[in-house]
């Protein structure tokens, strides 16, 4: 059978043209890179939008944006960062590139479906970008698109064609996400190599697995909600629009809908979504920290268990986005308890990362710097979740900059730090060349200082009561005196964007002239390091390696070197890992 597979591999390699190899490729590695590079490009777009609206907020008197343009910019920034950067970079880029390499599979379970998922994703960008060029511009209703604001064209300039295109884009994106998650779940469950039991999987794979399950179960709900809203907009139905509204002097003809239904459906997706984008980085960061601390991840079973606990609880917390929405107060009680419980597995993960560092042998590669930054940001952002999840305390904080600071730290920039750590770590595997570490450090310091300076002061704005999505705060006496802080935040945000440009330059430069990488430049233990950099089509020349031990056997007493790769048979005189 192996021989037959080899023959097939050989035949396919020879059949490839430029188009099937780089464009309509069915190779998981190419598809992963397509996803990753598309996401990074979209990050520049989403980041540029943020630079523009931050300029508006720092110097409102200059008026760089008009009010509707401001709303369009913040709405598109959120949409792009969530749907077109974080989600596809992780459950697309890293998931595709890493899953088969890390579990010992030659490709994904369904390579054609995999190719389809990328191209459906690329298609979903078209209506989104088109919405910049239609009358009224892109949506104004925020990335959460609450109806009736998003349902009624009279309600805002962006609630016209721009909103319709947004819904279309998101619905198409949901299809792509489903095709992807189905593939990751199937591949992880059935295509692991010999010896790769579930509890020998690297935590990156666990993070991707749990995230894919969440995506599979929640994106359909978002898609259904989006289609219902499209019906309300285009077909005269009233799922979300109640009777008796008057907008812009015009009596609205809808009857019988309920806007809270949208919030429930949206957040049933929306809360698991934040874990969809944070679980894979949690895994990446665990891999990177173990590698550069030369130590096993402390408490591996607890790390897996906490990922599963977070995954399950994430389905039961959506109502904490709705404490002041007018839903029944009794529901608030339940959602507060489940939300606060999520702090427990999150704390376990943090302490386990710290315990992994304790008495390690730490090497500060750029990947490691970003992984350590992740831990700091996750804590800085996560702890205020204890305020926001506690229903009564959320009342004054809801929809203020306290929330903006919280989620940007805990799942926005933390996830981005996970992505950056992953890029510096796996770039040599992806392209056969290392990224420049000097430029990497410039990128890291700009980003870290920029992120702290941007998002920590947002907590202070939130404490002062600054509410979200306001184009000009000078009408509010309790906010106008805080303009110097706004300037500070904006200048810090510029540093983050500058850091992003350094990364882009580093990637282009290193692709062309980076230092060539051997198969295992970081002396790692997991299977992707057992093959060439970059790996050949179908990942390994010859047999797929067999797995003999857990993923993090670093500094095992008695071993001749400070790491025991998963694929090496047991050397004599060394006690067995798990």
């Amino acid at each position: 059978m192996a021989a037959a597979a080899e023959a097939r591999v050989h035949a396919e390699v020879h059949r490839e043209s430029f188009w099937t190899r780089y464009v309509f490729s069915q190779d998981h590695k190419v598809i992963g890179l397509q996803y990753l590079l598309t996401s990074l490009f979209m990050a520049l777009v989403g980041g540029a939008l943020a630079m523009v609206f931050r300029t508006q907020l720092a110097w409102p008197q200059a008026g760089v944006l008009k009010a509707d343009q401001y709303l369009a910019a913040v709405s598109m920034h959120g949409t792009i960062m969530i749907f077109f950067v974080l989600t596809p970079a992780l459950l697309g880029g890293f998931a595709n590139f890493l899953v088969p390499l890390k579990i010992g599979a030659r490709d994904m379970a369904f390579p054609f479906v995999n190719m389809l998922s990328y191209w459906v994703f690329a298609l979903s960008i078209v209506p989104l970008v088109a919405s910049f060029f239609v009358p009224g511009g892109p949506l104004n209703a925020g990335w959460t698109a609450y109806p009736p604001l998003s349902a009624l064209p009279q309600a805002a300039p962006g609630s016209g064609l721009g909103q319709t295109l947004w819904l279309l884009s998101i619905a198409i994106f949901c299809v792509s996400s489903l095709l992807g998650s189905l593939n990751y779940i199937t591949t992880i469950l059935v295509m692991r190599t010999r010896g790769m039991s579930l509890l020998r999987m690297p935590l990156t794979v666990w993070g991707i697995f749990v995230a894919a399950v969440l995506a599979l179960l929640t994106f359909p709900v978002l898609m259904a909600a989006g289609i219902l809203l499209l019906f309300d907009r285009l077909a005269g139905t009233s799922f979300f629009v109640p009777a008796g509204l008057v907008v812009g002097g015009q009596v609205i003809q809808h009857t019988g809908g309920n806007p809270l239904l949208w919030q429930h459906l949206f957040w049933f997706f929306g809360h698991p979504e934040v874990y969809i984008v944070i679980l894979p980085p949690m895994g990446i960061v665990s891999d990177v920290i173990a590698n550069f601390a030369r130590k096993p991840v402390f408490g591996y079973p607890a790390m897996v268990a906490s990922m599963l606990a977070i995954g399950i609880l994430s389905f039961l917390v959506w109502g904490h986005h709705m404490f002041v929405s007018g839903m029944h107060p009794l529901l608030g009680t339940g959602f507060a308890v489940t939300t606060l419980l999520i702090a427990v597995p999150s704390a376990v993960k943090t302490f386990n990362w710290l315990a992994t560092l304790w008495r390690g042998k730490l090497y500060y590669s750029t990947a490691m710097l970003f992984a350590l930054g992740f831990v700091s940001l996750f804590v800085a952002g996560g702890l205020t979740g204890i305020h926001l999840g506690n229903a009564p305390v959320d009342i004054p904080l809801h929809d203020t900059y306290y929330v903006v600071g919280h989620f940007h730290l805990v799942m926005g920039t933390a996830a981005v730090f996970g992505i950056f750590a992953g890029i510096y770590f796996w770039f040599p595997k992806m392209f056969g060349r290392l990224l420049d570490e000097g430029l990497g450090r410039v990128h890291f310091w700009l980003t870290l200082v920029g992120v702290y300076g941007t998002f920590f002061p947002m907590y202070y704005l939130g404490m002062a009561g600054m509410h979200r999505r306001i184009y000009d705060y000078r009408a509010f006496p309790f906010l106008s005196h805080l303009q110097p802080l706004q300037v500070f935040i904006t200048l810090s945000a510029f540093l983050i964007f500058a850091g992003g440009l350094v990364l882009a330059y580093n990637m282009l430069r290193s692709l062309a002239a980076g230092r060539p990488a051997d198969p295992n430049p970081w002396r790692g233990t997991t299977l992707e390091w057992s093959t060439k950099s970059p790996p050949p089509h179908h990942n390994w020349h010859g047999e797929v390696p067999e797995v003999y031990r857990g993923p993090y056997e670093y500094s095992v007493p008695g071993a001749s070197q400070d790491y025991l790769p998963q694929w090496e048979p047991q050397p004599a005189g060394v006690r067995a890992g798990h």
Partner: protein, 274 residues
């Protein structure tokens, strides 16, 4: 597949000093804490409602807990980064598990979270307790992009409204309860007694947010929501719309005036005379 180390690998050539990062982690956590304390002390409005004061108190308790946790984690993180940098041939400790340690740091957060949940639930139910029947009643209406209010007249009842009726505040003329209602752009509340604020929107979502009350509530299209509170201080307080409601969202600023019962009664009589 050969994994024997060759000449110096990129791993061995990476930077060894964690001093800069360790220091930045410490300095950041110090500045973060100082900033938070300053923002709490100088910028957070002093609560002028009974409910808001309780909420602020729980906020402060949690703030103390999370600042301690924040500093603790960052002290350790910074210390480990500086202390455990790779040095010479010293190797890392093989330390994959420690059951007692893991159970401890699962149990401690769990106990804290359960305690905070209980405190939160108790306060939540107090904040949402049914208002006494003699509470002061006012209806606040939001629309793109402004606020207005309606007060029951001598009958103590607010009449039915229908947004489609072209009359002030869309009050239904068929409903006798509405004939003596007083409508005004001014929002008044009465100090030192429970106030029941009924919230209604004509168009899209809005949110009634008075920072000094430490309270907010959404206005939900198709329904009436309510906020019950007891102001403890007379004065004029900033009102803002905290839920994105369209292009003029940022202009939805207003004032809430908390007055004594006598002051309110006098004002209401003047309205009736107009």
């Amino acid at each position: 597949m050969e994994a024997t180390p060759q000449a110096p690998s990129p791993l061995e050539e990476t930077q060894r000093s964690g001093l800069a990062l360790g220091l930045v982690v410490w300095v950041f956590s110090l500045l973060g804490v100082l900033g938070a304390l300053y923002a709490r002390w100088a910028w957070t409005p002093h609560s002028v409602t009974v409910e808001g004061a309780s909420i602020q108190h729980l906020f402060d308790v949690i703030l103390a807990i999370i600042l301690v946790a924040f500093v603790l984690v960052h002290l350790l993180l910074g210390y480990f980064i500086v202390r455990y940098r790779a040095r010479g041939s010293e190797s890392a400790l093989y330390f994959p598990h420690h059951t007692a340690l893991e159970v401890t740091y699962t149990a401690v957060p769990a106990v804290v979270m359960v305690a905070l949940s209980v405190a939160g639930i108790l306060l939540w139910s107090r904040v949402h307790a049914a208002p006494p029947p003699d509470a002061f009643v006012v209806e606040v209406r939001g629309e793109q992009f402004g606020w207005s209010a309606r007060y029951p007249g001598p009958d103590g009842k607010l009449g039915r409204v229908d947004n489609r009726i072209q009359r002030p505040f869309n009050v239904d003329p068929e409903d006798p309860a509405g004939r003596d209602d007083v409508t005004s752009p001014e929002i008044y509340l009465v100090v030192n007694r429970p106030n029941r604020i009924l919230l209604r929107t004509r168009d899209v979502q809005h949110s009634f947010w008075v920072p000094a009350f430490r309270l907010k509530k959404d206005l939900l299209p198709g329904a009436t929501t309510e906020l019950v509170l007891t102001p403890t201080q007379r004065g004029e307080f900033d009102l803002a719309c905290a839920e994105l409601c369209g292009v003029g969202h940022y202009t939805m600023a207003g004032k809430v005036r908390v007055v004594t019962q006598q002051e309110f009664d006098r004002w209401l009589r003047q309205q009736g005379r107009r």
